[in-house]
Symmetry: C2
Subunit: 363 residues, 2 copies
Amino acid sequence: MCDISPSWVTVNLGAQSYRICVGPGVLSDSASYANLPGAGLAAIVTNPTVAALYGEKLQRRLASHYANVLLIELPEGEEHKNYVTMEKIFDRLLRANGDRSTTLFALGGGVIGDITGFAAACFMRGVPYVQVPTTLLAQVDSSVGGKTAVNHPLGKNMIGAFYQPRRVIVDLDTLNSLPKRELVAGLAEIIKYGPVSDQGFLEWIERNLDALLSRDEATLAYAVTRACEIKASIVEEDEHEAGRRAILNFGHTFGHAIETGLGFGAWLHGEAVGCGMVIAASLSANLGLISERQAARVIALISRAGLPTKVPEISTDRMLELMRLDKKSQAGDLRFVLLDGVAKAAVYPAPIGAVVRAIDQHR
Amino acid sequence: MCDISPSWVTVNLGAQSYRICVGPGVLSDSASYANLPGAGLAAIVTNPTVAALYGEKLQRRLASHYANVLLIELPEGEEHKNYVTMEKIFDRLLRANGDRSTTLFALGGGVIGDITGFAAACFMRGVPYVQVPTTLLAQVDSSVGGKTAVNHPLGKNMIGAFYQPRRVIVDLDTLNSLPKRELVAGLAEIIKYGPVSDQGFLEWIERNLDALLSRDEATLAYAVTRACEIKASIVEEDEHEAGRRAILNFGHTFGHAIETGLGFGAWLHGEAVGCGMVIAASLSANLGLISERQAARVIALISRAGLPTKVPEISTDRMLELMRLDKKSQAGDLRFVLLDGVAKAAVYPAPIGAVVRAIDQHR
């Protein structure tokens, strides 16, 4: 990958603006860390698997910027994405005399990024943090845009904050160590950007899916950079998800219900979102917002990627119950991000009957 | 008090601007609630003592604005100002199908206000909340300005957010039910505004202290309104405490160390701040920032108010250790808000020797 030079994407949010650096080897490149706010203490928050692969490398890199660099390892998996886990970060920071300049580095996937970002939002009412995503899913979605959260026993991402990172450092080399299943899960969030907002990107993915699955370096670099660009432009328009940003949750209402229903960790987030997009595409067609052909095209791509397209063993009643807790729902009425044209989506209320039918179509 | 009409103070923070309504009986006046964002669900967060006094009254008032009004009672006292207590709010909101429009009402003192504000900041990444402070301390300080937090075993207010309320409703009638000890504690935060920023107000307090202590209605109304005005103007200048806002923490570094050192709940926050201001005034004089006479004047007023001026049984070493955890400290160096003129203050680093001497002067 050495002949691919890093690309920079800017997220323009006034005083909260920041840049995303995408490229092979950028984790070890001092240019990636230029102009971050100074501090005596930095903390790398990660999990044991990622720590073994990249922990020391990042710690060495940061040692030239910070007098003291902690390595904080959190237990792995979505089932640990809760307040109790987050409190371990606070304990370590306070014991090391952390202050308001202490800078956190989230080294890992979406779970690490979400917990670390929320910890940064809350510690002493807000300290700087940097996302260093090491999974495809985190690189193309969760590390960009400042949505941070932990789970509550009654629902996913219920407790959190909008809190932007100071930088996102996307080292594409980390994808080489990613298990195939996680690579495929990440593809779900890449595919998402096509149907909801970018017809050209949808067609590009259709043409390049095999190259992505075989981890072709240049193809992955383009996909990740383009995904970050699309995400940045949507976040710039609607940082706090008052409107348009919600389209990035295409497939997520069904997906979250699947994740919670199966118990966190049974399916990967991207897998649940893949299946959720399948149901949401069918629901969009059932309601006449798009044609059956358009829905079938989206479903075919998800299936080709190797993502699950069959709803797992959760009763439809249980799924409905879980979806009523979704943050888009209003006074208990279900609302979904649905496709309503080519590369177009919006939030719609949907009658229970149509929702049930869309789920049952994919049993 | 019926002849005192409500006064409104505006906190100008752009899109986050809000108004403070101060007056007797405003809790029951529908004008106080005009133009709050609409929602199906509201929740009053309070404690058993305040609930018995004002819970039903507020619930009745809100019933005309919201279809469903929950009453959430939290255990009383600073020792419960933690995440576990806050989670009770999330549980109730989620079980009642709370959504992103759900509005929280913090009915009580500083503990209730801080927990409820932080819960509002985090629930679904942010929902509206209204402060309805019922203690003098909360009315003149903690309910205004959007500082929210819970405590961590290693330090007070370590975990929190800057998150502004949509309104502050200050019903002066609630002061009638306030125990004398809490009234006096609240005076500490009123007195604070004088030495740090307003010579005229300092002189006014000196002249009117007896009337405040005897709960003269008009005198309390003026003191609360003026305190809110001063706080609003400082918060407008520096919402996130990058600079000047820190002066509002005069006496608080010593005060927090006293609170944590004694165990939460032994002294009231205002009592600890009163004693903290005494030490900070002496430290300011020891460092030559103000004259001994100026320090003595501040200390005399705190003493006349009936606030503690003697440092309690906590070793000086323990106090130093606790103060190193203060959010103003940098890389373990102690920093304090110190008086540096008449009605003027700023954050200063201070040599350990001078700090020790200031503490020992008040043993």
